[in-house]
């Protein structure tokens, strides 16, 4: 069985036949339950659709609203999400190696290199076209453009303006994009679904303000694909509904993630997809990630009467876009609402937009607002760069610092 999974040809064939997905679904039904099952089923179904040719497979950068793709009848496929998955199953090193041999600089974000490596190895479903937004980073739009050249498919760039009052340009670009693709969008159905999921997500976010923490940042970030891809889909609604119900039940029964929980932390950026000891280390010290910036509901429900405006607004409003002082204010609000004792910012190797903000955020949060802040360096996808002992020491020292600050122990 292991040999089979290591065989590239086998994997490529398996990805392209419907049977593999049916088997995967059966396993999901059998082994998983509740919101986890919905998440698995969603991912299996979307992957299956991406590989077969019934609907256009639209590769997109992570922050292109999934509602846009669903509205034009496409199947969103995010290579960055694939990179995360591949890292989880321990295959990232090979794909990174492949990208590096193709003149991809090692300094570049490993997520983009991994996505490219996967493409070069022939694992990815062929795109019909590629859409990138200019937010949040340079790398994402550049590597996707490069890939569009490899596949010789149209590449669309949506330049996300920085300020809300510039929204008409983004609206124009979205309209032009849809015109060019030539499909009449079905916003109504998709927006309805997105808004339904939105309601449940809002509930989830409210529930997570309570104590004890019943849904950790670690688990949430494992499921972050749902944030990126499921809004506008039917399964997205199911997922958030079940999640909300489960959390409600857990809170009722006081089922915290850890006993004697002491500290609630906020996590910035994403977390490494491969298996690591970051969160167990924190739990050993009775600290848990109570919330993460990637779960913020940063947009308003989509208005079917103003579809282009709604989509553009969702893009411009992204919490990671716009001036840093706004981000800082958002983070302070999260700290307040979620009763946060300390912030951990993850600096992904090669992520310029994120890493460049850490110095400033640390200054603002720690020096000016007295909130303990730890910046840890690592790699989201490349486990070769994971140094456990060093990370553990930093995490433990950070919780000890909070301990001392709160006059504890």
């Amino acid at each position: 069985m292991y040999k089979l999974f290591n065989n590239k040809t086998f994997i490529k064939k398996a990805l392209n036949i419907g049977l593999s997905y049916e088997i995967a679904k059966i396993i999901a039904h059998w082994k998983a339950e509740g919101f986890m099952k919905e998440a698995f089923l969603f991912n299996i179904e979307e992957t299956k659709k991406a590989y077969n040719n019934n609907k256009p497979t639209v590769w997109c950068s992570t922050f292109v609203p999934s509602e846009l793709i669903y509205s034009i009848g496409g199947v969103p496929f995010m290579p960055e999400v694939a990179a995360g998955f591949v890292s989880k199953i321990g295959m990232a090193a090979e794909t990174l190696h492949k990208a590096e041999s193709d003149w991809f600089n090692n300094d570049l974000c490993s997520i983009h290199r991994c996505g490219t490596g996967l493409m070069l190895e022939g694992y990815m479903p062929e795109p019909d076209y590629i859409i990138a937004s200019s937010h949040l980073c340079d790398g994402a739009k550049r590597y996707l453009q490069h890939i569009s050249q490899e596949y010789e498919v149209p590449f669309y760039l949506l330049e996300t303006s920085y300020y809300n009052n510039e929204i008409k340009y983004l609206i124009k670009q979205i309209k032009e994009l849809i015109d060019d693709i030539g499909i009449t969008p079905n916003f109504e159905k998709v927006f309805k679904r997105s808004n339904k999921a939105y309601n449940y997500h809002k509930k989830v976010n409210e529930l997570r303000k309570k104590d004890p923490v019943v849904f950790s940042g670690e688990r949430a970030l494992n499921l972050v694909t749902m944030e990126f891809m499921s809004f506008g889909s039917k399964k997205g609604i199911k997922f958030y509904k079940k999640l909300a119900n489960t959390l409600e039940k857990r809170i009722r029964n006081n089922e915290g993630i850890i006993d004697q929980q002491r500290y609630r932390l906020l996590w910035l950026h994403l977390k490494p997809y491969y298996s690591q000891e970051i969160f167990t280390t924190l739990r050993e010290k009775k600290a848990v990630i109570a919330f993460e910036e990637y779960y913020q509901l940063y947009w308003e429900k989509l208005n079917i009467d103003k579809p282009y405006y709604s989509l553009a607004k969702k893009m411009i409003n992204h919490f990671g876009w716009g001036e840093l002082k706004e981000q800082k204010n958002d983070i302070l609000e999260l700290i307040n609402n979620y009763n946060i004792d300390g912030v951990i910012g993850f600096s992904q190797w090669g992520c310029r937009q994120n890493n460049g903000r850490m110095g400033m955020l640390k200054k603002e949060l720690k020096d000016e607002n007295n909130i303990p802040f730890l910046n840890i360096h690592g790699d989201l996808v490349d486990s070769r760069n994971y140094q456990e002992g060093q990370l553990r020491t930093r995490l433990q020292a950070f919780v000890e610092l909070i301990d001392m600050k709160k006059g504890g122990k």
């Binding site: 720690k366 020096d367 140094q387 002992g389 060093q390 020491t393 930093r394 433990q396 020292a397 000890e400 610092l401 001392m404 600050k405 122990k409």
Partner: protein
Amino acid sequence: MLTAGIDVGSRTTKVVVLDNQKWIGEKIQKTGANSIKRAEEVFDLVLDELDLKKEDINYIIATGYGRVNISFADEKVTEITCHGLGAHKLFPGTKTIIDIGGQDSKVISLDDSGRVDDFIMNDKCAAGTGRFLEVMADNLEVPLENIGELSLKSNEPADISSTCTVFAESEVISLVAEGVKKSKILRGLHKAIVRKMIGMVHRVGLNKEITMTGGVCHNNGVYEILEKELGFKINRPSKPQYVGAYGAANLANIKLKKQN
């Protein structure tokens, strides 16, 4: 109340024993390959000298790189917290701690109450650690214990621009071939390590008083150049390698008091 702090570093293992807050004994040995064994040995050695048994020690805290394996410790605490407390106890006005060990270095800032406020660690790269100086001393064929003094004999440092130990080594070899004096090269190397530390200090914030800890304290060259570059007097403990273990033993004391 007897407490002990055991600092299992990647190079050396240190133990400090306190009687209430009084420093009554210490021991240092090379860690070697078997850190658990060494920790036990060093602990036994110091107990022997003090004519004590393990059971006499009321609370033991293990710190340092190898702390996780010390099963006989009552608690494991990171070297950040322990160095912070140790330096604070030795020099109560300390706000910035510069620790340069054999294989890692760190800068810790303390708040007004002597608690750790922020820290930055360099444990990924030999540059900025004692290892850097060892490699260079070897290259220049100068005994390690003499490089500090020799570096101070030159007023002008040779320009060593590489941040990487391996590349700096190449630079040194070229300089030697060019006939540059050893003292000048050493001055340049000491300046390089100081530069690295200063980069770290600025990330955490420079506030006086500054206390230096770790084995490289013994190197007068690093100490004096660091003082000069920072523009502040730097406290230097008489037993700089024990600060972590001392802090751990003190923390053990505090924990005991809270328990009672």
